[in-house]
Symmetry: D3
């Protein structure tokens, strides 16, 4: 039995709220249960130097948690002088996931910076971030089209993400914090609206997992992501 | 005429919302018009080393802005390896202001860490932060009293803050961003519920100001802070 | 046709040379074709502070490349003040992989530090590092048993790793640099001697991949890792 | 009674010695009693990048203390990797104070860097620094006029600074270290030769102060600064 | 009696192996007994900014030790955020030594970066590094001449280095680690093939040494360096 | 002919002024012509951790230049986040030189921190620093003996330093900046009062130097250092 009484293949309640940041070109507050992530998309005229002359644009992402997003306060990373390894892994993952569904030449030589700031963390912050960031990016591209900065929509598909894992012997979808911290295996899946796989990350700190278990996790994720993509479609409608 | 049509001595609409962060011992979302700051208070068993054996506690504060809180995206400070001078000035100011109304020995040898994270910035972020942080600190102390961690309320008074300045020749209260960036003189006042002055900071980058002007700014601030303290009282009632 | 004329499911020539570092408790020079990684295992009496009193040990890993391990010289990370995100991802992966097959309480409250330094890089450095690090760790544990520092072997199984990917439309095993830099999809698999999966990382920067493709990559990896485990067994015999 | 037997409104002995640094375009060794600060003004052909094309110049300041300027040796900030918050506050204050009396377009697109290095610290280092830095800046501008780098004097007025505070219940001028460390309230005032206020900073860590007290501190400061400006006039005569 | 039974004026067995790094323009693995240093020379099209327009090139060097090159594991410098003072001293020494025998204008406005990475450390790593780096630099210049990037050989002479010291009262050549850590006096000499002195560094942490002792150390060094230069000549023949 | 008309073996005018820093246990302002260095010695109850239990003390040194000590303003090292390689070399040299004449067990488990801050730089700052630091250290030990913190004088001898070099073909003593920047060879010598050699550093960036030249430089240094030691004796008399 899961702590939340959810069925193994049940997502938490997910919400996507658009236009929550007054100044950003696109923004979305995404919640997966008690996990809350504020995603903004900023159009930046100057991209990285290696973009110049390439004729294409770039989408990059940064991720951070507020110090008291978590049960115990965590130190601000600014005081340690660098983003932690975990933070860097997550922001690279978000960036790659969004670029996988973006037609970069259609942006022109510009950069879209996605900021995902976790206001409250109850597990699944990176998957919520990817799911919400897609909406912020979508709205940023709409903003750009309205102003004729771009002529076609650079988005080729939806992208969303969810975590799965083995919790007390059961394979479950969308782990919250108490499940995640007790899970034997933890996997994150990023997929497109058409069902293509963009990223798979599975880790077993304790017992290795079998191929059968992995395929079942993939099946659970496919179901959850289909729900998320459907919600994205309703949100931007 | 002010851009917002406000009278020179009129505050923006101010709101204080308690208990917005699920895990923090105290929290408050404060808004001064479009400026929004999330304040949390975290009880930390271990204070700074120099506290040990002193028999008293400590209240400290950290301040940060989300990258897209502002009109233009700003770089995360984690990437420059240290908080900027401005950030350090502000977080020292918030900490001193709260300590000025706190009975430190009544906390015991513990530390309360206040985090003020600016979600949206339209001028006056530091004064909003102080005003909201007082509520978060108040609720943290209530939480501690309910659990008998402390026996008396360490708060001796309210504390709140507001900015004033000279905008196009007129002395005005509670500057928003467009006023602030055009102001000749910028002053921040921190006062207690009883009307004592805790901090005064007045700066003239362009023309020096006269003693008369300064006293008028002080009078404006006194009015605004009285309103803020009244709102704090209603909020915690 | 692969640049090296290898069959899609053929590994490069792999060698594992033990005891190559005079002072380390365990060491292994691993080569996957032109990729060469020097792995050392160092017994450190003092582990991280959070280990104290836990009754168990720890295995951690660090990874670095010599500046001219690569076709173009890369800057030393010491000059940028921190390990890059990529470096941190890799060293976390190596550490998790080794811990997954280690009985940590059997080490006692000690730490084994694994250093993987890439002398020459032609693709697959992280997978070579994991494969070689297992041998270094094995020999470090032998050294400890000979000196009665531990009484039983903390290793519960072998662990080895290999990369797979989609190169010019073909699914191939153990990518070398020219394949890797042109691959649509890049996946790394870490498995135990018994065939359990420890880590799966699959990434599609360009086109998403299908579940069928992913399963075929997994099949290729299983074959390669079986060969690597067999070589580890011969090496320590 | 003050430790030094001074009257409440008496400054310490103040001296301003010009041309103490052989290579600097302007320099001044300022002493407020035992506090000694070496101020240099350096003409730099290249100002900050944002100055380019603006047609105006810039005056900036840096501040530091020698490790054994103080009663106890303090660590060099170079070893902590960044200036402390206190150092940054002070150097921003010095820069703003000097710019408030400088006609920036009259400098042209050049930068004057002021360095204030505290050789000995007995309270009031920031106010001594501002007072001495004005002389160094004045002499730098003279040097530039002699070489026809500028045609008019960019200085519009004098600027000087002094501290005041509440020491054992008495309001006193120009606090030395033993007074400063015991003071309830500490305020710094920066004013021009004509009596305009450039900066006011008042802080109450312990008891808040009243408006009446603040006005009396301002009166004390006005008297002290008038003396300092008079001494500046004699010095450059 | 020396721990290794060597005569006071006997070098350890020295080897120089060329072309050990597949991608570098020049490389050499140098061993002085158990000390092993991998030296690579990399041609970099872009030198430091101050080179531009000077018409001459530059040779620079970086030095590092693998963490377990030593008896006890040492922390990676990347984690301390900067190269240690010792590392910086050594890499500056290597760079100066090589430039002393290089005709910099003959390189053109290019930079050769020498990387000296210590794989195993048993004393004398900096002297081994200089000796081996000369071979790597020589081969890099040959590579450039074969591709007509330069037309004449920029090397004007050989350069090699050796350490000497006073070990238990005896003046000895080429100290290994156990001698070095017990030596009263430690000196490093860098000389050219023609016998000119490029660098002399002599240090007495314990007892000062006499002029006579210093001259005898110089005589020992001269003998050792003559052997090293002879070996360099055979290596490149 | 030297720019200053000095004879090749003539020192600049040297002065040593004691007790220039009010709070330090020992201090000395040393001048070699226009080079001015402020040296302080601070007794620190807590030495480095590795001293604990050793029964002996430590002498360490830090070195820095004021930004406008030089002809052109140099950036403060605090802004680059670390002492430069040159700074680290110099402060290690000063520390070693002083320890070479100090009986460390006679200090007890305490540390003396020497700070050498260059107020004005006209060549020879490191040699002036060593010469002045000895006086500061001497006076610190006197202060400790007067308070019975130590019972015997830990100083075993004098130590002083001077530079020599080859300037326009002539071997000269005590180079000033214009000589130093044009010199072919630059050597620093540190010797004791009894004439023992503590440190020798000779560098030829351009032409290597011969043994004969080196011996002549040593002879020049011996003469200069004898004068410096004589002046130290007069100063402390």
């Amino acid at each position: 039995m899961r702590p939340s009484k959810r069925a193994p293949d049940a997502m938490r309640k997910v919400t996507l709220e658009r236009a929550v940041a007054r100044y950003a070109e696109g923004s979305c507050l995404v919640t997966f249960g008690e996990t809350k992530v504020l995603c903004t998309a900023s159009l930046e005229e100057r991209g990285p130097p290696w973009l110049r002359g390439s004729g294409k644009g770039w989408v990059t992402a940064e991720y951070s948690m507020l110090p008291r997003a978590t049960h115990e306060r965590t130190r601000r990373e600014v005081n340690s002088g660098k983003p932690s390894g975990r933070t860097q892994e997550i922001q690279r993952l978000i960036g790659r996931s969004l670029r996988a569904v973006t037609n970069l030449p259609a942006i022109g030589e510009k950069q879209i910076s996605i900021d995902c700031d976790v206001l409250q963390a109850d597990g699944g912050t990176r998957t919520a971030a990817i799911t919400g960031a897609w909406v912020a990016l979508h709205d940023c591209f709409s903003w750009m089209r309205q102003r004729s900065i771009i002529s076609v929509d650079p988005l080729r598909d939806h992208v969303a993400a969810v975590s799965c894992g083995v919790y007390k012997g059961t394979l479950v979808l969308d782990l919250e914090y108490v499940e995640d911290s007790a899970a034997d295996t933890d996997a994150n899946f990023v997929m497109t609206g058409k069902g293509g796989i963009v990223e798979v990350q599975g880790t077993a700190e304790a017992e290795p997992f079998s191929e059968e278990q992995f395929l079942e996790l993939l099946r659970l994720a496919r179901g959850g992501i289909a729900e998320l993509v459907e919600l994205q479609k309703q949100t931007i409608a």
